[in-house]
Symmetry: C2
Subunit: 449 residues, 2 copies
Amino acid sequence: MKVVKFGGSSVADAGQLQKVKNIVTSEDNRRVVVVSAPGKRYSGDQKVTDLLIKLGESIQHDQVDHEVYKMIVDRFQSMVDELNLPLNVLEEVRKRLEYSMEQVQKKEAKAIDSLKSCGEDGTALILSAYLRQEGYDSSYVNPKEAGILVRDEPGGALVLEESFDQLYRLRERREILVIPGFFGYTPEGTLVTFSRGGSDITGSIVAAGLQAELYENFTDVDSVYCVNPMYVDRPKELTSLTYREMRELSYAGFSVFHDEALIPAFKAKIPVCIKNTNNPSAPGTMITADLPDRDSHVVGIASDKGFLNLYVSKYLMNRELGFGRKLLQILEDEGVSFEHAPSGIDDMSVVLRDHQLPPEKEEVVVGRIKEELKVDTVIIERDMAMIMIVGEGMNQTIGIASQAACAFREADVNIEMINQGSSEVSMMFGVKTEGLADAVQSLYRTFFE
Amino acid sequence: MKVVKFGGSSVADAGQLQKVKNIVTSEDNRRVVVVSAPGKRYSGDQKVTDLLIKLGESIQHDQVDHEVYKMIVDRFQSMVDELNLPLNVLEEVRKRLEYSMEQVQKKEAKAIDSLKSCGEDGTALILSAYLRQEGYDSSYVNPKEAGILVRDEPGGALVLEESFDQLYRLRERREILVIPGFFGYTPEGTLVTFSRGGSDITGSIVAAGLQAELYENFTDVDSVYCVNPMYVDRPKELTSLTYREMRELSYAGFSVFHDEALIPAFKAKIPVCIKNTNNPSAPGTMITADLPDRDSHVVGIASDKGFLNLYVSKYLMNRELGFGRKLLQILEDEGVSFEHAPSGIDDMSVVLRDHQLPPEKEEVVVGRIKEELKVDTVIIERDMAMIMIVGEGMNQTIGIASQAACAFREADVNIEMINQGSSEVSMMFGVKTEGLADAVQSLYRTFFE
């Protein structure tokens, strides 16, 4: 059996839900469906989840924003109308929404989570009703009923191990099950949402629990591209990737989905297929544990801006036991998370995401480094970009580094930093942001043309 | 004025001392001379310092090794005889030696240091007597008289700041001063030696204290080579280097001298010239603070064997605040010093000198990493070599990385690791030891032929 997940744009309106119905019913073994909240129908439109957050804030400030409330209900109403569904379906969606609004008004714990999840919940209710109306046996399954148990954490819900066994029982059900994404329940019964983009997480958990043969993740692109289409016109599509490649690519600028969302599926070794709701016959991108048979060693070029380099130098640093550890300790004390820490003989750099070190924190961190480590120099260089070339087995291939370095030279972009040595799947280069586009284009020509 | 230092082979016998006299007296401003203990006169010969250590050990075991004692005295006697010096010179050398032996016998604190320093001390006594006999005004100056004050540390003496002011007063002296290298005195008056190779340190301290215009370091090679002559036949000689380049080169296999020895001279911005006692007209290698005018950006290729890579992987490592710090903390707790720590998304490598992690310590460290960090994998890969290409401004030159990477490809050697990003002066590559020679030769062809 397959678990099929549809993203926000795939369930944005009645027309999209018709495509979803066609996709789900075109194969007998697409038996479990996970849905997001309705996304944007056109550029400039608002996502239902954003509207729900606005509504929640207005209630918290004791000024219910009726206009936003109406916009939310209208989104669901137009779906129900256009699909000719019975009116009680909309009633159920409204009931759930109004119950959550009351909870927020009463300032109940986690009431905002309950309100935020109404987008997914309404979509699931509507989709299952629509499938039934079209003659298919289908049920809405609430995550509590499905057994998605979570622990409430500051960054969002974390799935509990027992969920997987509970979910496995759903295999006995014969009808098409529609589960809203984005939330689960604590063992005490409180609804808690995952981090943003959390419907991918639900899909991944459900696929893992059900031990699905495949987890299909439907979005609005035909496949994962080998490079950000912002830099290269119509880049090559990736037909296959390994989990590790996907994870490394997701790290730097591959925003097809949240890189952590797939982890439950990865751990259970469920293959994942990224497909397009608007063009379901396209083969999509298959993500598997094992290395697929293929020619090229480089499968993708990921890139991201917004890094900074914290450079520290001190004479005889390399004789000082614990220097590197002490530097990282200061960052940790100040809650600053770092990405990489390449070191020379008497100097060390620490690469961070720019937002990790706002000016006020920079002052504290630089002050502590100067005082506690008695360094000679501390320099902060912002406007750094990272480029990552990714491919299984790449590090064992003689010449990849030289091809990459030649590409930078051809683009006339200086490599500020190279980080290779730990990951067997990737090689990372730091450049000044101004050189990013040229470098990525040159790497694309080198490895893909 | 210039401070001139002569190494062990430059003072190995009377013939060498004649060369030293000629070099010192050929320029009026070579006014302060620092000498090592007599080194090997031929392959298979023994260094006087090694003999002194043997002698000391025999005394500590209450079995004075008279044969070794005689070998030491013979070395000095033949110098005195061949240079036709008055007999009282030898008497003085013997007196000093026998006094130190008695101290060791009495188990006085630091008596071994006193004994170990008799090689330099005797050489200085003989050289100054020889200069006087040849008609030059010259004095032996004991480090206590010179004002070389040190603190006793486990790794060897550490110079105290006040030494520099004291040494400055020697500028008033008009004669040629001969100072034995390798030792200083604590403020309480105890003789303490520097770490092995410590005559370079004395020379460097004296040059800094006297604010010499130049510190000339005479050895037995015409200059510093751009690569280890073990790998390349008659490699290019370096006419100039910056301090930073020298320091980076010294780190990995450039054993012309101890990399820390030059630090006092570096800090005082005294230029250093490496010259050959046996060919003093050769220009040598000049080491300065400022970047000399020159074409090539790569000035040297250093390399060293005996590294290992400790590889650790853990799913979602990059979201775990403090992971890198905790890993380094474990190493620090176990007294293991690391060189570099390149990191991927979910993995991290730590490069160490092989001897830092003997098997019994490996077990403890690997056990702690597994237990405390709950990692997925820990792998130790030995037989790693590091190659470093060094040159000021190199990191700002587009194309150096690509030339280097091409050289590895041409040598058919896989790059296991690249560490570039912190030092502005070097780029480091990790390879398997079996590929080291081929890679170094290929890099040499690329950058120097």
